[in-house]
Structures are given as C-alpha cells and as structure tokens.
C-alpha cells in the first residue's frame, strides 16, 4: 500500500455520541484521481464520515489520514474542497459576493479570484445569475452555487455531501460530466449519495449501513459478486435483506 497513491486513509474509525454508535470500525483507502461514492440510506453515517474527512469532526476511535497526515490539520484544509449537505450560503448577499468572500478565505488574489469565479460559475451554468441575491435562487441553483464555492480554490480533494439533491436530470448529467473532467485533471472526488443511478457513475463504491462499511468495490464488481441485477439489489443483499 503506497502512501503516494492513497490520498485518503480511514483507519479503524469509530464514532459514538454518548452510547449511540454512528460509525463502527471503518477502514478504507481512497486513491488519487478516483471518484469514490459512499452509498447508503440517510442516517447511515455518511455525513459523519465525510465531515471527519473535511476536518469538522473527530473520530472517537481510530484516525483519518489525508495526504499522509492525520486529520484534522489546518494545513491540509487548503487541499480540500467541501460541500456540505445543507447549502451554506449567505442569502442576503449576491452569488458574486458569496464567491468573493469564500475566495478570499482561501487566499485567492484579486485577478485569480475573478478568473476562478467566472470559471466555476460557467461550470455550474450560473453565469447569468452571478449578480442575483442568493435569496432569489431556487433550491437547485443554491446547490450548484455551493458546488461552485467548493471548486473555487482548485482543491486536490473534493468532498461533496449529496451534491446533486434537488438538481434536475439534465443538469445532474452536466455536473457529473464536470466531475469526470475534474477527475481527469487529477482531482480526487468523494461523494455521498442515496441515489442509485448516481452510484453507478462512481469508480468505486462504499456501501454504508448503520455505521458499518458493508461492501467496497467497483459498481460492476458489487453487482456481479451478489449476482444482483442492479446496484440497488446489490445493496439490499449486502445489507442482509
């Protein structure tokens, strides 16, 4: 197992809130340049796990290593782009003001900031709505703006918590196309989802249920191994249903 290729290393991670166990002994390696999907029903622990990877939470037991260093680590944060499940946007401000604010937090200087803002807004097809107040955005537009903010500083690792909720199929496809082109440029992407057709687009999948990682592999492999006809069926078989 070379450290070079494994950008994310989750080592025997458990998390409990009091007596309530949320994550249970999860061990997983994610290598550079792959799109890794965490698939599972809501409440399975996906968000808790990706929050730990983003440095916003710590495991009760075990540890997470990103780029070979233990999380949380303030110096690693610049390499991570994080998009939370809820749209963390300032509704009173325009999209542009939101973008400028976050770009400044990541230290983007004036010129680079302008360039990146137009690039990411193009990517999520919001260029025409740049100067609108976020409070006038629809749910799907807010989701896309959150994604654009996560992409601003060109992170090596993207952690996206349910990135395409509330986005229509056409836009969803264009966003996934963007993920693929980011991946081709060497970006590693971690997404959580409970949508099965989205799961199929990941290079590898980790199926999570009740805080346990019940299966890891490529979508094809998971289907074949269980002799299932779809990811959905495979998930149910792994879950013991």
């Amino acid at each position: 197992m070379s450290q070079q290729n494994n950008i994310v290393s989750i080592r025997n991670v458990s998390k409990a809130f009091g007596k309530h166990s949320v994550l249970h002994e999860i061990t997983l390696e994610i290598s550079a340049g792959e799109i890794f999907g965490f698939l599972g029903p809501s409440g399975a622990g996906k968000t808790t796990l990706v929050k730990q990877l983003a440095g916003l939470d710590t495991p009760t037991e075990g540890a997470n290593f990103l780029f070979g260093d233990k999380m949380p680590n303030i110096h690693l944060i610049n390499k991570i782009g994080y998009m939370a499940q809820s749209d963390a946007l300032y509704n009173e401000l325009t999209a542009k003001e939101n973008l400028e604010f976050f770009a400044s937090l990541y230290g983007l200087k004036h010129k680079a900031r302008k360039k990146r803002i137009s690039e990411v807004m193009e990517l999520v097809s919001l260029t025409d709505d740049l100067n609108k107040l976020v409070s006038n955005y629809s749910g799907g537009m807010k989701r896309r703006l959150s994604l654009a903010i996560a992409l601003l500083h060109q992170p090596q690792l993207l952690i996206l918590d349910e990135p395409t909720v509330g986005i229509d199929p056409v836009l969803r496809k264009s966003i996934w196309d963007a993920f693929v082109s980011l991946k081709e440029n060497g970006t590693t992407i971690i997404v959580t989802t409970h949508v099965m057709d989205e799961a199929e687009k990941c290079d590898r999948l980790g199926m999570i249920r009740d805080g346990k990682l019940i299966a890891v592999g490529t979508p094809n492999m998971l289907v074949q191994e269980t002799k299932a006809s779809s990811i959905e069926e495979a998930f149910l078989i792994y879950g013991g249903a």
Partner: protein, 341 residues
C-alpha cells in the same frame, strides 16, 4: 486578508438588512425622544408645605397653583417630606423665607422653583429678602433626562448590539455557514475577531448617531468630550457583541436568544445606576462589579454630567476591555466544538 474578507461580508450583510439598521438607529432615537418628553413634562403640580407663614401671605399664596398643606412646626414638615407627602416646604423665619426641597427628582424640583418664583413675585413687597433655596439632594440646573440619559445611551448600545451580534452568529451556526467557514482555512480567532471588528464598526456608527441626537437634538447635558462618549460606547459595544456571540452558542434559535435578554440584559439595568446603587440589598451587591453596563454607565455619567476626562474613565475602559477579551477567548474556545484545530 481572511479577516478583512469576513469584516467586509458582515458589513455587506448589515447594509442589506435595512430593517435591522432602522431598528438599531430609529428605535433608540424614538425611545430617547419619548423619555425626554416623559421626564421633562411641565404640568406637574408641586406639593408644598407651609411652616410659620404670615397670615397675609398665606391667603395670597393659597390661591396659587400648588397643593398646599400647613404645618405647625418644621419637624412635621420634615417628616412629611421624608414620607414623600411633600416636594418642598416653605419656612419663614422672621420674614426671611427659606425653601427646602426634597430634591431627588429634578423635574419636581423644576416645578417647585417655578411655583416659588411666580407666586412670590406677586407678594414681593411683603418679603424682605430673596428666598433661600436648599436642596436635600440634587442641584438646580439638572433635569431627570440629564441624569438618566447617559445610562440609557449605554443601555441601548449594549442591548441592540447584544441582540444583533447574537442572532447573526446564531444564524451563521444554524444555516451551516459556520461549518462551511470552518471547512476553510480561516482560524477560529479570525472568525471571532472578524465579527468583533465588523459589528464594532457598525456599533460605533450607531452610537455616534444616537449620542449626537441625544446631545444635540434633545439637549442632553454634555459637560465632557464627545470622543470619550464614543470610546466608552465602543468598548461597551464590543463587550455586548462578544457576550452576545458567546451566549448564542447556547441557543438553538432566535427565540432562545430572546430568552437570554431577561437573564443577561435586564438585570444589568438594575446595577447600571438607573436606580440608586447604595440602596441595593447587601446580598445582591456582589453582582454590581460583574455587570459591564455598570462600568459604562459610570464612565458615561462622569463624562456627560460631571465633565470628567481620561483620568477618571480609564479604569472603566480597562474593565470593559477585560470583559471583551475574556468573552473573545471563551468564544474561540467554544468554537472548538466545531473544529478542534
């Protein structure tokens, strides 16, 4: 740079929220104006006691605009004064008049003096000398508003800054933007300091407008330097906003912030000098030095009523800064809940 970005963002947000700006500036102005009218009302009829008044004078004075009671001895009048049955008594000692005022309420004093001047002028020829005026408390030139004004000014700054900073930070937390901020390289101290500076800038603007209106618009007594008033209100505002942010950590919604008002804000009024601090019961007195408003009100009164300068207010400033630093440190510590580093 990150700090600056945060300050700019906060200011942009405040500017967008016109209604909150209106609340912060118009509400205190409205309340101060109302208090000005309430305290400076002129229609009060004074209650005067007569002791030893020559009969000829008494019949003339009885017709004047006051509630008059006659006492046999000065001792009786003093007792009545202590029981608040009288505002003042008029005493003649061999044709030399003396007026003794209870004096604690400047607006009442005003009425008494006015009555005295208008009624005695009609009977001047019978009196050998100008009346001697004695105050048990207070002085002749002050109005109630002059006395309460500085405290109220401090209170408004404290109350509104506390509220808006607490709710803003609460929103940052409940909308998930705080988490999003912490997923960026911003340091925890930058968040707390950014909030302090952003709202501090707004608080100084708010305080300037309100203080200028109270002093130049309503004619609030102002013996000292305006810049000291701003200094104190800024120090108080920073204390209020850092406390507001800290308490918002323990609230889950806006209503729960409001619930902190009777706990954290209202009791400070009692110890701010709006009520006489010497009469506070012993077992409550230990709270006085723990309330930031006490220091601010003390300093503001020293500046505005007594015209004092830096040497008399620096201790209050230091206490306010001490509170602020304590709250800032606690805030940075409280943010560890969201990110350990």
């Amino acid at each position: 740079m990150r700090l600056l970005a945060l300050v700019i963002r906060i200011l942009q947000q405040i500017i967008r929220d016109k209604r909150t700006i209106a609340l912060l500036i118009v509400a205190p102005i409205l309340i101060l104006t109302m208090l000005n009218l309430v305290f400076n009302g002129k229609d009060y009829v004074p209650k005067i006691g007569f002791v030893n008044i020559p009969d000829t004078l008494e019949t003339q004075l009885l017709a004047s605009d006051a509630e008059i009671t006659t006492y046999e001895t000065e001792k009786q009048a003093i007792e009545a004064l202590a029981d608040h049955e009288l505002d003042a008594y008029l005493l003649f000692d061999s044709m030399e008049p003396t007026v003794v005022l209870e004096g604690s309420d400047p607006s009442v004093n005003g009425s008494v003096i006015q009555w005295l001047q208008s009624s005695l002028s009609t009977v001047q020829q019978d009196i050998q000398s100008e009346p001697k005026i004695e105050y048990i408390y207070g002085s002749s030139t002050m109005s109630s508003f002059d006395y309460f004004g500085p405290v109220l000014l401090g209170f408004f700054v404290f109350f509104f800054t506390f509220l808006i900073a607490g709710i803003s930070f609460l929103r940052e937390r409940t909308t998930g933007t705080l988490e999003r901020l912490l997923a960026s390289p911003i340091r925890k101290w930058e968040i707390v300091l950014g909030y302090t500076i952003g709202f501090g800038i707004f608080a100084i603007i708010q305080a300037s407008i309100i203080a200028a209106y109270a002093i130049y618009g309503l004619g609030l007594l102002m013996e000292g330097a305006f810049i000291y008033v701003l200094l104190i209100t800024l120090a108080l505002a920073i204390t209020a906003l850092t406390l507001g942010i800290l308490l918002s950590t323990f609230a889950n919604n806006e209503l729960q912030i409001i619930q902190f008002i009777p706990l954290a804000v209202v009791p400070q009024i009692f110890f701010s000098g709006l009520f006489n601090l010497d009469t506070i019961s012993e077992w409550l007195r230990w709270i006085i030095p723990l309330t930031p408003l006490y220091y601010a009100a003390d300093a503001l009164r020293n500046i505005m009523v007594r015209g004092m300068g830096w040497d008399m207010i620096y201790q209050d400033v230091l206490f306010l800064l001490g509170f602020s630093i304590l709250f800032i440190v606690l805030n940075i510590f409280a943010l560890r809940r969201y990110r350990k580093i």
